[in-house]
Symmetry: C2
């Protein structure tokens, strides 16, 4: 089982290679890309303990000169301070323009290493080796990189495409179950916005909530189809001028819920699950989508063990306010991605606030 997806971009295209056990081929695979000799592998202590040495051994075997560094784990370290630390390490190891940073970790590591690579010497190579399901199907692909500002998530960042993405599904074995479920939310998202075949496959599976209950073949399919969906969208709209907005399906309400609960109550994917339920219902209220299809979507979200209700401690008015602070607001109007059928969505900023309130109220 293995798949290769090509992400076609005007400036530099790259491949996403998905195969069980491929972590041990990291060096070999990177040799196929034109990269300099120096590599800085960045991870966090936990992930490094599981996979660091194997990655380094493979890189060394392929002739790379490897240094490594662990940033502390956790979203609260996704800050400019961590980036400054990476700059210091880059300098210490004399990284050159042709050098490569390798991000071995979840989305937090991937976003930070991507941003450091984007801004060191005005841009050096980055290779993404995502280890969480969310990073595999979402954050490692598409070139969005960045860190948080004390007052807002991902406010600081840059677009910087990886030169190569290696996905070894086997590393998911050590991923905490809750993280797996959170990643599954984004997979379901691709089914709803882009890929009916993926949607059908998810529907056909008895389980989605834990890796060990999901067939290896379905995992391979999920990864391949999700990456393909993201690659398709990103290839058509690298810098988020238009189409790419559809990837924010479920994120409008999702972000508001996350920020109002101070990123403590929900994983991002869990909030996106709630956001998809809300967006689906808004689409139904506006006569854009069939109620039966919303139910099918919500059944997948439940099957993945994700929440579908709004917690009692969030005021609906507070959500409406928080929407105004969203990065995606244009001239004060809130943008929603709404399904019109399974596999198809549209972007609109014409959702009446009353409809939003009413739908949210129904989700208690």
């Amino acid at each position: 089982m293995s798949s290769v997806i090509k992400v076609n971009l005007p400036e530099q295209s790259y491949e996403i290679a998905i195969a069980p056990g491929s972590l041990d081929q990291l060096g070999e695979q990177m040799s196929g890309v034109k990269l300099g000799q120096k590599v800085l592998l960045v991870s966090n202590p936990m992930i490094f303990k599981h996979y660091g040495e194997r990655a380094i051994a493979s890189l060394k075997k392929a002739g790379f000169e490897v240094a490594s560094y662990n940033l502390p784990a956790g979203e609260r370290y996704k800050t400019l301070n961590s980036i400054q630390k990476l700059y210091d390490i880059a300098l210490e190891n004399r990284l050159e323009r042709s050098s490569t940073m390798v991000a071995l970790g979840g989305g937090v590591i991937g976003d930070m290493v991507g941003f450091a690579a984007a801004t060191w010497l005005r841009g050096i190579n980055v290779v993404q080796v995502p280890t969480s399901l969310l990073a595999m199907v979402d954050s490692a692909i598409g070139g969005k990189t960045g860190v948080n500002h004390p007052h807002g998530k991902n406010l600081i960042g840059a677009f910087h495409q990886p030169r190569f993405v290696l996905i070894d599904p086997e590393v998911l074995k050590t991923l905490p179950a809750r993280e797996f479920r959170a990643g599954m939310a984004e997979v379901i998202k691709y089914g709803v916005i882009w890929d009916t075949e993926l949607f059908d496959q998810l529907e056909a599976s008895k389980h989605l909530e834990q890796l060990r209950y999901v067939k290896a073949e379905l995992i391979q399919n999920i990864l391949t189809r999700s990456c393909q969906a993201k690659a398709d969208v990103v290839s058509k709209d690298e810098k988020e001028a238009g189409l790419r907005a559809i990837l924010n399906y479920g994120h409008t309400i999702g972000h508001a819920v996350e920020s109002l609960t101070e990123y403590r109550m929900f994983k991002h994917g869990e909030a996106v699950g709630i956001g998809m339920v809300a967006a689906g219902q808004i689409a139904v209220e506006l006569g854009l989508w069939q109620a039966a299809d919303t139910e099918r979507q919500n059944a997948l979200i439940k099957k993945a063990g994700l929440p579908t209700k709004l917690p009692a401690n969030i005021e609906i008015a507070a959500i409406i306010d928080a929407l105004q602070l969203d990065k995606k607001v244009k001239s004060g109007k809130v943008r929603f991605v709404l399904p019109t059928q399974i596999g198809v969505v549209k972007v609109t900023d014409e959702v009446p606030p009353d409809t939003i309130s009413q739908v949210l109220a129904s989700m208690r």
Copy 2:
């Protein structure tokens, strides 16, 4: 007198408008570009005192909503800390993706504002209003942005093209004379590497060392031809994959001299002057360039009141060492830009260290 230069780039092209007194048309001119309503004007206290209110008045007249902020003046504030301050101000003023930062100042302000704009919300608009000669002919054009790392200049940065560049030569009246001369070094550079007509015009002028001795018409020509030269090169090689390297003429030795004197003894342009003398002589030693043309170049550098000798306090061996630390080193080889005739240069990493030492020794 006015000129407009178009910088053609695959993703987004932009114009450089050069006209005396045009600061008062900033708002009007920016209305011609598709930009959002919110503008954050960033300057330093000194430059703001001279030109801030005029710029703001013009922006407001054109209907922009304007906030402004002054960073402290000086290269030593070109740091990530200043960028963090700009992020805070951007947040305070609720800048959106369609918003614009306007850099009113020399290269230091331009580089920082460019970098903040490159990385806020993964990239918002920036308009450059350069006020130093160096910024007008060099740093405001071409999209290089960044700040210094405590251990090296411009190590942190990004490519981020401005949406518009407005050059009002009249603001040069308040520029300190030494800054004017430093900027003239880059003008001479364009004559040597790209534009023989510019070279001839500089040769024909009796004075180059102070603004008030140089005819307004020549200033307009100098700005127009220099910007055109930079625009030509950048259009052909936005991300420094090849051709753009020629803009580093004089910078190889120049940077080494600057860093060895800890950026205190020389202005950047002065060091570039010394670097051009060195590179010219190296080209002669290698049989690439005629001695007579080197002399013509050196005469211009002198006429601009720029140094052409190496200071006694720098060891030649130290320069050779410092070259190894240069950002432009590839796999350990030092890259030189060398003239082959006036208006034409080549890039090479095949300069024997002995030749470098010998040329430097002759410059005492």
